[in-house]
Point group: C3
Chain length 352, copies 3
C-alpha cells in the first residue's frame, strides 16, 4: 500500500508541515525508518533522532519545536502513530476467507459471512462462528461453542465445549480456553475428580496471550469482561471473574473464584489466592503475592502483598537489616555496661 | 438424561425427604439452579439460599435442620453432589469411538477396544493405546508410547517417544509429556547439548493440566506416581520423582532430580530447586521458594521457604521493620546520652 | 547400533583400560546400566557404584584409581559421555525426509535438501526451510519465515510470519515464536491495540523449551543470540535482546525492551522488568525479581533483587527478625529504667 503524506496526515488526524506529496509505504521506529516510512516522536529521549532519521515524515506532538523535517503534528502522536500502523498493517489477514479443505467441521456448524477457516482446523458440532472471524491453522474448537464477529483465533488455540466469545476477541497461539478447573474432593488421601461442568465467557474486545489458560467453572461461569488484555502464560482458575479493561501481564496466576475489578493491573508473575476480591483500579506489582482482598484504588506489591509505599520501605529496610541486627547487639552490650556501672540489674526474665 | 429424585437419592447414597417423583435433568450451584436441577449445600455460608433456590432438591448434610424443601440427606453432601455430577455428565465423550480418517497412524500401532481417535491426531510407530482411551483432535503421540485404559488425552497434547501412561490418566490441552530435559555441558562458555535419552512414566489416575510440561529424564525415568493431580502451566524437570496423591497447583516449577513425597501439596507458583527431597505430607505455600530438603509433615512458605509459622511471624515483623529501624536509631541516641551523663564512654570500635 | 569398546574409546577421545573387544549398544546411568551399556563416573558421590555397575565399561576421569573394571579414561568424563550419547542417539530423526502428504505448504515455499516435514504440518507462503531441517507433526509456520539448516522443530510449535531462525536451532513442543508483543495504548481507560509489526530473530544453535513464548517486536526485532539455551514456559517480551550463550531456566519472564548480556544465567521463575540492562556474565537467582539494571559480572537474588551475598544475609536476618523485635522492645524498657534511675528524661518527641 502506498499513500501520500497529505492523505496520511488526514487519516491520523494531524496537520502536515512540509512536503505533502511524498509517498509512504510503511511505518518504523525512528532509528530504523527508511525513506518511504513514517515514524513518530513521542518520547523526548529520542528527540535527537529527529534531524537524523531517514523517514519521509515524523509524527510529532504539539510541543515539538519547528524543524526543517517534514512532520505531521498532532495532539497525541503515539495514538496517531497507532492509527498509521493500523492503516498499513491492520487489514493483513493470514488466512483467506473460506474453509480450507483439510479443516474438519462437525454437524450443524454455522459459519457467518466472510469467515476464514485455515488448514487442519477442527470445529465441533453445533458451534457458530460470527462474520469476519478468522480461525488459523490447527485451532481446535469444541462442540456448542459460540464465537462472535471479527475475532482472530491464532494457530493451535484450543476452545473447549460451550465456551462463548464476544466480538473482536483475539486469542493468541496455544491459548486454552475452557479447560477443566482444578477441582477434586479428597477422601482418604485420594483426590476424586470433581467434573467441571460450568463454562467460560470471554466478552468482546478481550485479547488473550499465547499459551495462557482460562479454566471453565466448576458450576456456573468463568468470565473475562470487555476490553481486558491478558498476556502470555497466564493462568485463570475456575469461576474467576475478571473485570473490564484490566491488564494482566505475563505469567500471572489467579486461583479459583477470585474476583478482579475493572481497570485492574496485575504485574508480571503476580499471584492471587482463591476466594478474594480485588477492587476497581487496583495495581499489583510484578511478582506480588496477594493473599487477601484489596480495596479499590490501592497499589500493593511484595510477598505477602502490602500497600506499595509500605512495601518499598519494608524492602529498603530489609537491606539494612543485617547491619541493624549487629547494631542491636552492640546496643545491648552498651546498655548492659550502663546497668553494671549504675548498679542497675536486668529484671529476672530479661534476655529470655 | 432424566432421573427421578428417588433414584438419584439411591445413586448418591442419600435419603430423600420430600417429593420422590420429581424429575431431575442436571446439576447446578445453589444460586443458579433451575427447577429440574439438583444442587447441594455443604458450606454454611450458603445456608440462606436453601429456602430460595429454584432447584428440585438440595443435597444436605446430617446437620442441616428440617426444612419444607425437598432434600437428599447424606453424611457427605459434597461427595454425594460429586456423584450426581458424574451421573449426569461423567459419560460425555467428546470423540466417538473409532479412528477419524484424517488421523495419521504409524506402523504397528496397536489400538485397544473402544478407542476413540479424533481428527488430525498423529500416532507414531509401535505405540499402544489401551481400551476405552480417547485421543482428542490434534494430539501428537510419538513412537513406542504406551497409554493405558480409559485415558483422556485432550487436544494438542504432545506425548514424546517412549513415554508410558497408566490407566485413567487425564492430560489436558497443550500439555507436553516427555520433552527434553534442560541438560547441557558448558565448556569454554558454550553449552553443548546433552541428549536426553531417558523417558517419562505417568502412573494411573494422574491428571495433568493444560500447557504443563513434564521433561523426560537425562538417563532413567521422570515419574509422576498414582493419583497425583497437577494443574496448568506446571514445569517438572528431568529425573524428578513426584509421589502418590500429591497436589501441584498452577505454575509450580520443580527443577531436575528433585524428589517429592506422597500427599505433598505445592501451592501456586511455588518453585523447588534441583536435587532436594520433599518428605511425605509436606505443604508448600503459594509462591514459596524451596531451596533445601524439607522433612515429612512440615509446612513451609516464603522465600527462601521457612516453616510456615515462622514465615508468618517473619513477614508480620517485616511490616513493622521500617518503624523498628527508626526506634533503633532513637534508642541509640538515648543510650549515647546516658553514656555521656554517666561518664561512660563507648569502647573504641563501637559504632563501626 | 553396535560398536566395540575400542572404537568407542577412540570416538570419545579416551584410553581404554581392559577388554577392548566388548560390544556396546547404548548408554545408561551407572546404577541402571546393563551389560551392553557404557556408563560414566564424573561425580565422586557415585564412586561406590564403580565396582557394582553392570555396564560393559565406565568412562572415568584422570583421578579415578586403578580398578579391575573395564574403563575408558579421559580428561573430561562428562564430555566424553556426552559424545557417547550423541554417537548412539544423536542421529535419531523422528520424521523421515520428504513431505508427508497431509502437510499443507503455501505458494513458493522453498525446501532445502534432506528436509523432513511431518504429518499435519502447515507452512505459509514464501517460507524457506534449510537443508537437513526437521519439522515435526502439527507445527505451524507462517508466511515469509526463514529457517536455517539442521533445525529441529518439535510438534505443535508455532512460528509466526517473518520470523528468522539460524542453523541448528531447536524449538521444543508448543513453543510460540513471534506472537504479538503485549502493546496497547490506553486512552479513556480503554486499551487500543498497538499492532505488533516487528519480528523475531533466533540465531544459530539456540534451544527454546516447550510452551515458551518469544514475542515479536512492536517495531524492529526481538532477538535471541547464538548458543543461548532457554527452558520451558519462559516468556520473552517484545523487543528484548538476549545475548549469546545465556541460560534461561524454566518459567523465567522478561518484560519488553530489556537487554540481557552474554553468558547470563537466569534462575527458574526469575522475573525482569522492562527497559533494563543486564550485563554480561550476570547470574540471577531462582525467583529473583530484578527491578533495575545489573552491572556485568554480578550475582543477584531475592525480591527486589539484591547482590547475592547481601541477599543471603538479608534473608538470614529476616528469620531472626521476630526475636530481634522482641529484643528491641526489651532493650527500650531497660533504657527507660536507666533513664528513670539516672534522672535522665526522654526528650520530648522520643518514643513517637
Amino acid at each position: 500500500m502506498e499513500i501520500s503524506l497529505k492523505e496520511l496526515a488526514a487519516r491520523v488526524g494531524g496537520t502536515l508541515e512540509g512536503d505533502a506529496t511524498l509517498p509512504v509505504r510503511g511505518v518504523a521506529g525512528i532509528s530504523e525508518a527508511r525513506s518511504e516510512d513514517v515514524t513518530f516522536l513521542a518520547n523526548p529521549r529520542f528527540a535527537d533522532w529527529l534531524p537524523r532519521t531517514a523517514a519521509a515524515a515524523v509524527i510529532v506532538g504539539p510541543d515539538c519545536p519547528p524543524t526543517d523535517r517534514t512532520v505531521i503534528r498532532t495532539r497525541d502522536p503515539y495514538e496517531a502513530f497507532r492509527r498509521a500502523v493500523l492503516l498499513f498493517y491492520g487489514n493483513r489477514r493470514p488466512v483467506p476467507p473460506g474453509v480450507h479443505p483439510s479443516a474438519q467441521l462437525g454437524a450443524d456448524v454455522a459459519l457467518g459471512a466472510d469467515v476464514a477457516i485455515g488448514p487442519q482446523v477442527v470445529i465441533g458440532a453445533r458451534s457458530r462462528i460470527g462474520d469476519g472471524t478468522t480461525i488459523m491453522p490447527g485451532a481446535v474448537i469444541g462442540e456448542d461453542v459460540r464465537i462472535g464477529r471479527d475475532c482472530l483465533v491464532y494457530p493451535h488455540v484450543v476452545i473447549r465445549e460451550e465456551t462463548e466469545l464476544g466480538d473482536g476477541v483475539i486469542l493468541h497461539a496455544g491459548a486454552v480456553i475452557g479447560d477443566d478447573g482444578f477441582g477434586f474432593l479428597t477422601r482418604n488421601a485420594a483426590h476424586g475428580k470433581m467434573p467441571q461442568v460450568g463454562r467460560v465467557i470471554i466478552e468482546s474486545d478481550v485479547e488473550i496471550g499465547s499459551n495462557s489458560c482460562i479454566d471453565r467453572a466448576t458450576l456456573g461461569v468463568t468470565r473475562v469482561r470487555r476490553g481486558t488484555r491478558i498476556d502470555n502464560l497466564v493462568q485463570i482458575g475456575h469461576n474467576v471473574d475478571v473485570g473490564e479493561n484490566a491488564i494482566l501481564c505475563a505469567q500471572v496466576g489467579i486461583a479459583g473464584s477470585t474476583k478482579i475489578g475493572d481497570r485492574v493491573t496485575l504485574g508480571g508473575q503476580a499471584g492471587l489466592v482463591h476466594y478474594i476480591e480485588i477492587g476497581d483500579d487496583v495495581q499489583v506489582g510484578a511478582q506480588g503475592g496477594v493473599t487477601k482482598s484489596v480495596p479499590g484504588g490501592s497499589q500493593v506489591s511484595g510477598y505477602p502483598a502490602a500497600p506499595h509505599q509500605l512495601a518499598k520501605r519494608m524492602y529498603a529496610a530489609l537491606r539494612r537489616l543485617p547491619e541493624a541486627l549487629r547494631e542491636l547487639r552492640r546496643l545491648g552490650e552498651r546498655v548492659a555496661r550502663l546497668e553494671r556501672e549504675t548498679g542497675d540489674r536486668p529484671r529476672s526474665g530479661d534476655g529470655e
